[in-house]
Symmetry: C2
Subunit: 199 residues, 2 copies
């Protein structure tokens, strides 16, 4: 069997990675299979050797750094370092950072795609849910002395992170968008019991 067994997986992840960026930027409907394959350096024909349909790929594009450690969502220098403790606060700051706000293509899919997902099939919604659950787990993994937030609090923090960014991205005035990010960040840090050293 020609081609090393790695090759198929390599190309496959290359397709998914490119598709993530395209979906993040333009949404599910507006992206064509031809573009997706083009981003991976291929032409449309081979697509169905890797995925049963566009929707199938979509669900896989929901992978984010909460579910997949090496997914590479780092948002320009904003990193989350588990060894530094207080993971929850780190996540909040990274999530609502200016970098994440600007970096549409490498955005967390939970921010960029919730509308499409809500309208999509169960498979996409399950993938979204996975990412969300993973985020909750991370938010509760607080190693600091502040104590872990309970589950309802962790859910509210997630809502603030995702909601704050969604709203900021949908606003035209960058001033309002910034205000929203900061307000959500501050509220989330307070909720978590993590002190808020301003911007």
């Amino acid at each position: 069997m020609p081609y090393p067994p790695r090759h198929h997986d390599e190309v496959r992840t290359r397709i998914v990675r490119g598709a993530q960026r395209l979906f993040n930027r333009r949404g599910f409907e507006a992206v064509s299979i031809e573009e997706i394959m083009g981003a991976a350096g291929l032409t449309r024909g081979g697509f169905y050797r890797y995925f049963g349909s566009k929707s199938d790929l979509y669900a896989e594009a929901m992978d984010c750094f909460f579910t997949n450690p090496d997914c590479g969502n780092r948002w320009e220098g904003v990193t989350v370092d588990p060894s530094r403790g207080n993971v929850g606060a780190q996540i909040v700051r990274a999530y609502l950072s200016r970098q994440h706000y600007q970096d549409i293509e490498d955005s967390c899919p939970m921010v960029a795609l919730p509308g499409d997902v809500a309208r999509g099939g169960a498979k996409a919604r399950r993938a979204y849910e996975n990412a969300l659950n993973a985020m909750i787990v991370h938010l509760q993994k607080d190693a600091g002395e502040a104590g872990r937030p309970d589950r309802p609090t962790a859910l509210a923090i997630a809502a603030l992170c995702i909601g704050g960014m969604v709203v900021a991205r949908a606003s035209d005035d960058i001033g309002l968008a910034t205000e929203m990010r900061e307000a959500a960040k501050s509220a989330a840090l307070t909720l978590g019991g993590w002190h808020d050293p301003g911007a």
Copy 2:
């Protein structure tokens, strides 16, 4: 000039109303002009007598009950009554209600369309921003003795309302969705200084 001058406006709002529902359910791209006009009882031809393009209509479909009192977003019996005081708490409860969660078509566009808007033109983003600003104003219109929330708090409450609902809608498990709505509701009420009488 035949046709009473009212007629044009009547048909126009009929088109917008129908388009809102269609956009809420299926998003911008997936809805065709033919469907929009069909929902208004017309055929596609007349569309361009009312709107310059599909995008123009889209911006108008962002109208919600924060910007337009008689927009009719009432979510099945869940009403906001300014005379009953504590408007902020009423908004939070209505916004994160089961009814609003289920009533996709009559949903607040800020929940249903932020993704499309973020990807769309400046006109749509300005319309979204209008709705958001109007919501903030209402959230600060607290008439109770609890005192008005300050602006950052109002922004955070809005993020919780919109974000909580967005995430709930994108999740597959209705249990998680409910949990999220309740957690966001509780956190928002606490933030506002309004007591939280549970579900």
